[in-house]
Symmetry: D2
Subunit: 427 residues, 4 copies
């Protein structure tokens, strides 16, 4: 196991006394282990790496009375964004006394004058109830803006703390912003709050909004189960998000025990032949008369690639959609076998990400916002806040990466196999 | 206004004393007016027609101790089916003492031995909690069975009361069953409980499950609204059920005031040109930066027919889907105008019909089941139970018809126009 | 049957053309029958009375460009108040072009300068999302203000349309306001939107918020059922609102079929002796090991009065609470019989009224607000809007009365008896 | 820091090959660190203690074909019990092939013949949908049974695996069972799944059902907030569970940012005087006109003890209820100050524990049941399964203890102070 560099950059020494009415200050020396599970050599774990603990510091760097903060939300929507925004505003305003807070509309676009968006003032009154809604009150957009113009805008607007809520690309952009700010020797803190509905961020326990997303996905699986049982040889087929990782599919399967087959990008599968998905479906239908299949959108790309050549003479790009593809393939398979099946297809798409955050995510988002504020005020920069082994920590933006995949040899997938009763492989 | 014949057939004179512990018996003479609203000549209303009031009769026809009831559910699923089944079983068993009750699996198929389904025993224990689930515990299927075989099966199984829960086709089949039973001089009562997620049954106030369906549709509209506001020039587009009528779209619009354009089969519309949908969208986007469009699946058939010729050289049947068609057409329109829009498309499909019944529908389904039992025990047949002007009544199966449409000159549509602020016509 | 006087007062002839973009205008001559159910003499029904149909009129009385409207909410909270407020504001602003709309804080108090509340401006932006919250954005209070000062305030503020959302007392106050306005020959329209969580308004089908209240009550009954089944000889006891009428208890019982005994103010009951509630509970526990009792807060006043003398030597006013009284009485009864029971008591109190409106109520509130606006603009006054036999109508404020009770010889109570299986009387 | 003894007892060497179709076996050598956060001396952490990792073992001890398992649920209800039961049954039956599984009714009572309860057969069909309901399908009761009789019953019924779902007392009883079984040299595995709605178990991250409980508590806080804002000087006061610890109050406060004052058993508080609760309420009401107070049932015992002497001459035990006490005390305080306040009191009691498990708890309960089965089959005993630092582990029953309290110097309480803005101390 190799040690990681989890050093958090600072803008300078924090010398001002914290205005917080608390005695629960956290020292920079307090750390959380990156890995906590091992085979006997537990003392090795302390060498793998440890992350700086998040929390209020006794000394702060910025003078709240002369500070100005900006909040921007980028990328696709996710439950809980408004909760993070609210917690940042409330923490800045009520706890530290930072009264100047602006929201940037439509992602980093909002910093570029050419787009014509105005900054909006964020106050406790404005954000009081926003956590009860889905989406982002600031709206969002996908990236591509020139980082230098964004830094110009920060300077022009007198912003010295920037909170970036966004996905993998946004964390990379935030890192570039941090680098450009460093290059210009500016005293502007950049703090990221990572967001990914796919829950594929490495290092952290889970991304905010994920629990809500699987709650909604689990509801939809219940509907598919009802439909499958409601018709002769009913097959409920649900497609959920997850281009490169099957986390949502895995979580929803464990949350709703009615799934019989869970298909994820990490697990290649075959349709035809002994051990293929079709024969597993046949077996299931023969014994139970109905079945429920959950497929992540990134699953089965090998088959789709092959399938394209096979089915796509007319150039129909829809075939790249694994949900529609499976629906058609299953219907065709049973049609050739002269067996009646009733495939009920569900594509909830944005439904699972545009709802308000549930309880667990509300708590999580509130914490992320609070810890992001503490980090910025203390003069830290180039970092993101997250939860690791159930403790809140700082992680350098340079370490942010979305490569998390479902470990086919890990606990979670073992529980999926147990829950669905599906074969270890299809084919 | 022409008088209707709302006479309810009976199998014979009801002579047995009711075992019900109540003094709230209803007389066959009690009637409910079909029409209650008029322009001044209110006394004309009594001549339009009146329907027999539902309820327990003081004398019953069947001896509960020697009776056997069967329940069958046909057609597509709908919230509340299990609630109706439960209320029938509870009413038969606990109130009247009919202990022999069977459920027919997979619709009228379940009566035909060739399909290999067995009848299932329904008791209070079996049905106690089923109303908390969506779907039908008996499963369902779509029709086509020979009515004579079904009557044979009723006779073979000693059934003297058949409760049919189903849609327009099922009510017609139930009517044929009643006719065949009459032809054979059998003492078997046939009682229908009409079911249609589209709420397009004539005469009755609303069909069960409709309130739940629009509750779910309204939730999805909220998601589309969130997505529309979350992206630059966001357009939330939702397709809901309603092949021939726009009732679900109308109900969901009134339940969720975030819809800007409601498109229903009853209202032809144009896309292009002044006054067309596109220019209305442009205007909306210019003033508010986002918009929400709700389309019933049967809307815009004129355009789709034309569109087919235009876009469908490759024979892609997906173009017949008004939701996908509109999504593509809007994107193409704005692409040609070099204007960025973000269309977020929602096709909830079965989601709105496979959920458990909400409170209003639970109460309604409980009542329908209770009244169906009273009707059957009293020897009435060839009827359905429903609510008219907020009172429960008997309606002859011969009068069942699904032709209800949204009246473009009526109250409901006027309220849609008020709620959305949309033009009276597009084009 | 005696004819009622349902004449609606007007401020003067409506001469201005309506600005509404619709052709769905309603004539003052259009009426809805008050009674629609009878024993054979259906033509008598037209003589009982008919109510003016609500809806947009072709001619209006007030010039929107010079009009100013005020909205006030009084009495206890109820789901849907914000939905009514929103619909009134949207209708006035967007449909008719009335741009000056004010909200009165904390009920009629808000008109009296001494209380120090300011009027708040209501615009589409302010009310856009308020229907998604429970309560009243205007807050509320209970009455007692001098009507003359309120009229003075209307005059001083230039208000010519007053919308009063409130209960029985508020409708009476609104009627007094109408009379005082008439006495002073002022051209101010007073329109009431009746609100009562107890659903005890006469004439109208149901009050807004009632459906939501019984939805919440039904949820709580489920919890009580779970607790009753979870312990040896478990008794779930729930107290719900209903001082004089049992409508909430009846609705909740029908919505949630798990109640075994429903106790309402309309039905006196005995605890002791053969046929008393205690022996019914014993019987139920012996056969099923658990039971669920739902009691309206106004039930059992006879017993409580007697019980006071018996148990209340220490002057404990808590004994006037039928829920606590029953809990103690049941525990004492079984304690004396040396039988272990586990009483789980639920007093949801405000829980069932402070939630957001559900779908059915959202639609209902939207309609009530829209129809109230049409009525006011057309120069009608001294009226309330409501639904009768499923049609929206105008009712003179003079006819408003909260005397509605559960008819022990009617359909609803018969269905409660069927659903619970409880005896017709206790004792 | 002292090392703990986390050794897990075994019944004997596991020699049989596991029938699981997986290659994801866990070794007994795999451990999870007890503490993962420290001030710089991270290598010390490995010496504090490490817990055996839960999961399927490659070798099992019991032959599934001759095994018989029993499941018992004890103590108060909690969301998710049925989910645990379901996962145990499904795991035993489908994964390992243990076909004989019995449920014990009404807690350990169910083992004692004198109580007259029968064991019930648990099969996949029986438990298929039970996780969708609150409560326990086995019912529950509170303890006191003679452990020797329970072991006799296990022997008499041929049970070799006992799964105990229950609270602190139940874990102690399970430990006594393990000791008695050891004393008798019996080969019976005892596995605990700890349950406590108060979330006050030491070592583990959180108890199952806790997330659901705070979700419901958060809903009720929203209602109290609505009521507080709806009346002049409205005060919403909510009492939630938590006799010795404030975990529910803390979780609900963080989940619902509308609370202004959170009172927990860990924090003594004063009512009167400068810095007391009353003056904090006065200040809040003056600035915002409404306030929300959340009190755990065990808070303020010092005051109640004093209050008793003052108010309780008649011996009314109700005064020991901190909710009622606070309601009365606040009303009296403001009454003396001649200030109108409207206190709206909520006592949700069992409401927050009798609901079905939410998504997060469903996943958690499914995992606990699966890991409990793996532990029992591998011949481990005298242990409980739980989550520590987000990993599932085995903990000796001897270490089970409910002494967890809210750390007033920890992260969570700091976030409560930040969220509510309340003073660090009252008085």
């Amino acid at each position: 196991m190799m040690p990681h560099d989890f050093h958090i950059p600072i803008l300078g020494e924090a010398k001002l006394p914290s205005p917080l009415r608390t005695d629960n200050f956290v020292s920079d020396a307090t750390k959380v282990l990156l890995r906590v599970k091992a085979d006997d050599q537990m003392d090795e774990l302390s060498r793998v790496g440890a992350l700086e603990s998040a929390g209020a510091r006794e000394k702060i760097f910025f003078d709240p009375s002369t500070s100005k903060a900006a909040i921007v939300t980028c990328g696709g929507l996710c439950p809980g964004i408004n909760g993070v925004i609210r917690a940042i505003v409330m923490g800045l305003y009520h706890r530290y006394g930072v009264k100047e807070i602006v929201g940037v509309r439509y992602g980093l676009q909002g910093f570029i004058p050419a787009y014509g968006h105005s900054l909006v003032t964020l106050s406790p009154e404005v954000v009081e109830d926003i956590h009860k809604y889905g989406g982002s009150v600031l709206s969002s957009s996908r990236g591509g803006q020139d980082i230098r113009f964004v830094v110009d805008a920060l300077v022009d607007n007198g912003v010295n703390m920037l909170f970036c809520i966004g996905g993998d690309g946004t964390m990379k952009a935030a890192h570039s912003l941090y680098q450009e700010i460093t290059r210009r020797n500016l005293l502007i803190s950049v703090v990221g709050i990572p967001k990914t509905i796919d829950n594929d961020l490495q290092i952290i326990d889970k991304s905010f909004g994920f629990d809500t997303a699987i709650e909604k996905a689990a509801e939809i699986i219940s509907c598919a189960h009802v439909e499958a049982k409601g018709a002769p040889m009913g097959i409920g087929l649900i497609k959920v998000m997850g281009r490169l990782s099957g986390h949502i599919a895995v979580g929803a399967t464990l949350a709703n025990a009615d799934v019989n087959f869970t298909l994820i990008p990490e697990l290649p599968f075959k349709l035809e032949g002994a051990g293929g998905l079709f024969s597993a479906i046949v077996e299931r239908l023969q014994s139970r008369k109905h079945c429920v299949i959950l497929v992540a959108e990134g699953a089965g790309q090998e088959i789709l690639a092959a399938g394209k050549k096979e089915y796509d003479a007319s150039g129909n790009v829809r075939l790249a959609d694994v949900g529609i593809f499976l629906k058609n393939a299953i219907e065709e398979y049973f049609s050739q076998k002269k067996t009646e099946v009733n495939v009920k297809y569900f594509d909830p798409s944005y439904l699972i990400r545009s709802v308000p955050a549930n309880t667990a995510d509300s708590i999580y988002c509130g914490a992320l916002g609070q810890y992001a504020v503490h980090a910025a005020l203390s003069g830290k920069t180039g970092l993101l806040v997250g939860m690791v082994n159930s403790h809140f920590v700082h992680i350098p933006l340079s370490q942010a990466s979305s490569g998390s995949r479902v470990d086919l040899h890990g606990d979670l997938w073992a529980r999926v196999i147990e829950t669905t009763g599906q074969p270890l492989v299809f084919g």
